[in-house]
Symmetry: C2
Subunit: 656 residues, 2 copies
Amino acid sequence: MTESTLTTATPKVTITSDFWNKYRQLIVKEVLPYQWAVMNDEADINITDEKGGANPDSKNSHAVANLKIAAGQMKGHHFGFPFQDTDVYKWLEAAAYSFSYQANPDLKTVTDNLIDLIADAQEDDGYLSTFFQIDAPERKFKRLQQSHELYTMGHYIEAGVAYHQATGSEKALTIAIKMADCIDANFGPQDGKLHAADGHPEIELALSKLFEATHEQRYLDLAHYFLVNRGVDPDFYDRQLAADGFDNDIIPGMHGVTHSYYQVDQPLLTQKDAKGHAVRVVYLCTGMAHVARLTGDKDLQAACDRLWDSIVHRRMYVTGGIGSTNIGEAFTYDYDLPNETMYAETCASVGLTFFAKQMLQNEAKGEFGDIIEKELFNGALSGISLDGKHFFYVNPLTADPKFQQNPSKAHIMSRRQDWFGCACCPSNIARLVSSIDQYVYTVTDDAILSHQFIANQAEFDQGLVIDQTSNFPWDNHIHYAVKNPNGVQTKLGIRIPGWSRANFTLVVDGAEQTRPVQNGFIYLDITGDLTVELTLDFSIRELQANPAVASDAGQVAIQRGPMVYCAEQADNSADLWNYRVAADADLSYHFDADLLNGVGEITAKAAVRKTSATTDLYADYQPTTWQPTDLTLVPYYAWANRADGQMRVWLNKENA
Amino acid sequence: MTESTLTTATPKVTITSDFWNKYRQLIVKEVLPYQWAVMNDEADINITDEKGGANPDSKNSHAVANLKIAAGQMKGHHFGFPFQDTDVYKWLEAAAYSFSYQANPDLKTVTDNLIDLIADAQEDDGYLSTFFQIDAPERKFKRLQQSHELYTMGHYIEAGVAYHQATGSEKALTIAIKMADCIDANFGPQDGKLHAADGHPEIELALSKLFEATHEQRYLDLAHYFLVNRGVDPDFYDRQLAADGFDNDIIPGMHGVTHSYYQVDQPLLTQKDAKGHAVRVVYLCTGMAHVARLTGDKDLQAACDRLWDSIVHRRMYVTGGIGSTNIGEAFTYDYDLPNETMYAETCASVGLTFFAKQMLQNEAKGEFGDIIEKELFNGALSGISLDGKHFFYVNPLTADPKFQQNPSKAHIMSRRQDWFGCACCPSNIARLVSSIDQYVYTVTDDAILSHQFIANQAEFDQGLVIDQTSNFPWDNHIHYAVKNPNGVQTKLGIRIPGWSRANFTLVVDGAEQTRPVQNGFIYLDITGDLTVELTLDFSIRELQANPAVASDAGQVAIQRGPMVYCAEQADNSADLWNYRVAADADLSYHFDADLLNGVGEITAKAAVRKTSATTDLYADYQPTTWQPTDLTLVPYYAWANRADGQMRVWLNKENA
Ligand SMILES: [Zn+2]
Ligand SMILES: [Zn+2]
């Protein structure tokens, strides 16, 4: 492979995709204003207990008030989780990303003032975590198992780096630098420092970003230390709990979680399987992959490869959701993917997207792009409603409004909610959508990797411009127009999705060509201008799960292109478990511009059990009479935007 | 119907059934000695946390020690749940029942000494609950939501009545009377008394039994008051919690349970559905049916009828298990019968058996006998191992050793345990098995109701003797020989089980006869001697659940006679979800005397999915190739007595 003469700077990408620009404008017009009003306790909303259950925490988030109190601009106590500040920081990060595609002076005023507020709230030594500053200064860094202090500051560091990048604000970056210095002063291998990491990983990926923005080696070294030291001395956390008062929980009951819940049960470099809290795992892996790249640490990369394999090949739902139990919001065991008691938190899908992006930068492997696509078009995107003001915490593959009457399933909701007591998800999906432009190209030393079919115009350095047009995800024709006025010599790698690997056509400058798929990518040499027509395989597919997956035995999931589909009672009135897809499903597709902001609908030949109105709970089996009917399916991301009712992704399949 | 000239005194029944005498001898030889050793902390065992999870409470029950400390015979603190005493009392009751069929002088010495210990521990005013006497005398009757004080004394009262009946011990009855008087002095509608019932129902059914033993009207009135007053003033419990200290829980976290968890959310007489903790519901209903009979209160009987209908027709598993969620060990909603997160506690099945027995005494309806049979041969009996020293808390319909790695399912165990931190179940199944003789006949004003096919010889008054012989539950021929030397005029009602109602033959004194099935019973006039040959329908049946039961869609359960069957991996090596019963199951039965202490085994024509050793988590559906095979099924009560592995009651059915 000839060395590319391009620098690996990320290109300037302008999203032109209708599908995504609808969401990006929603972020600017609805999501950011709504979330800001909620965090300022100005929105008339109901805050739902994400665990399910009757009593919402309160009507108020208090997230901005906490910062004002810490900054001395308001009197009062802290309210909410010790990491309540992070809702504001993820919101700020989402706003920063939005400036790259939508000038917004009013919002800029709000965010500049917020930067000032955060600077005021920050203590002189750089420390910032409002719960401890307001109500427990003597307990700083004393209960790392659950304090979320580095998790909280890490989320600001990400926001500060993004805000500096978007607006040039030195103040925003300075706050982040002071935080990192404060953490460096208190944590590390040196004597007198705390030889431990935060119970919730985040600081590792944040310090990596800050290192790239500042090139301050201490930040990379500290991130590396947090990773390779994690799990070496798990009792550190128990000694802290004992000293700080075992029952003196900041998060009630949290002293009882197991070491594997927060990945300190064994040294990180020896971990084989994804265990414990799902969001913690994927944040940890995101930092680990980024640090592995920046340091060249092969052991860290090997650990990333093992955990990626564990998640994506044995512990992930077909929608990209991860987390098979609500208890601990955690992974469980290989092929354990129950559809009725699962979790698949929006943040977990967002986090897996981050992990995949870092892995792709480390190695040009199509699978990483496949997973980004799976999350962007399914498991992560389902976390936000079409109106931008309702959110899922849990993204289930089976839902029923009646689940609220069974406490084992009440965390599975069939309506998105205004807000949550623990509101980590709404601002997380917001920052992912507003930063989509960073998920289109990955530039390596050898090639430009086009791994997402999101229509855009990208300007690389030395005048190279690539214009990708398509009506993806509804249409399978992707057009690239490469303008290369200065004759840059490089390669264009185009991901061939796993679902199209067996069948795609490539036309380069008008001539059909065959190219070997190398590790999921086909490569074209770029010398001058170039046009590429890629036609992907959009045949509607019936998927089956590995035979070891008990919950999906005898069932199929329907996918077309990147979109996983589901059945809702809005379209199919009987109980959904009484349908089955016909042996010859005769699947058909048509786009309906008036449905759910415009979606492709799929119809499957099916049958529904003829059920007598028996009141018998149990009776002698009578051979089922199957009445032919059709099943109407809509894309999973768009479910729960119509009348309340049941939903199913995995459908019974005749004779399967 | 001519009035029977028999008094309704319960007959003297001698069990002759091989099946049940094996268990009754097991009670005497293994279960009672083992449980006594455990409760005296003399057994080398592991005590399992019934919630699943790693850390067993401890190695010790401390149940007898608590009584010794309360009696001043030992120093120390109370250990265990506030109702730890009840393990001893249910054990004592089981022992009392065993004297009726097995003279046991050594055991009698132990139980007489235990009666003395209990008398010593009892306070002068009759109060007895060791936790409060030892560690919290100032909190007596102050936290009724969770104190279990009347639940604890109620269990002694049942034991005391049984022990008095079995041995004539006045001392045992006096303890019970003093307890009842203490409760009567503190509770009731009168001014100055507590206008409330115990959070855990039990005292109502206990006072009913004590009334029948003593004919003291105060006890019946108090039981009636506890019932009709329940749920009229739910805030009583919250006022007590506030006064006693909201977080000052005796059972950690219990101040947070909802009113419906313990059936005080609305007046009992207005309850429509079975809601909340399952054992509490069936204990409450048992007392309610008994008091309804003793008082003739039609409203109470109507409430019983509604709750019976709710449980048996919409919220019960095919094995008789009840309780669809582990969270709160509770009922959930109609037709919600998940097989992987269910509860079906042994005590709940035992309690439903008690409820059915009282209802049958109120009304000669076959269904009540059907449910007693369903529990005795399935959901209750599965709670004890064949060796008598291992027990289930949860009796699931799907099990997998791997469930221990998913906290949502860890309460579902595939091995019975030595003992539990909350050890309510082991002694409860013990007292049910040792009192089986009380579950064979119900004598009403009009007839002798033979509602269980358990071989026995029963002596009624006036010299009437009925000898029932059979090899039930393996053989379908039931023989009755009625000896009636004094020409008693009465009727013999014989229950025709629901599973045989369409097909049975009746031969009376050698001549085949037809008799109408009236509400589940056929009736024969008894004037002189009589022989009856009843042949029931033992054809092997495939059952289907109501179409509203999502968890059993497309599946069948196999039943022969009273026995529900299941598949275990001990007999079927592949993952059980990959089998399906053939359209023509061609079911066959054979008895194997060497298997599981002698059981009838069933073979079904089936097929198993041909699975490739794919590592793909998801792949394009390939039409399943079904390899013909057989499924071998064993009776559900006997599962988990061989090699550890998966178990399933509901089996995929071809084309269902
Ligand atoms: Zn979240
Ligand atoms: Zn129990």
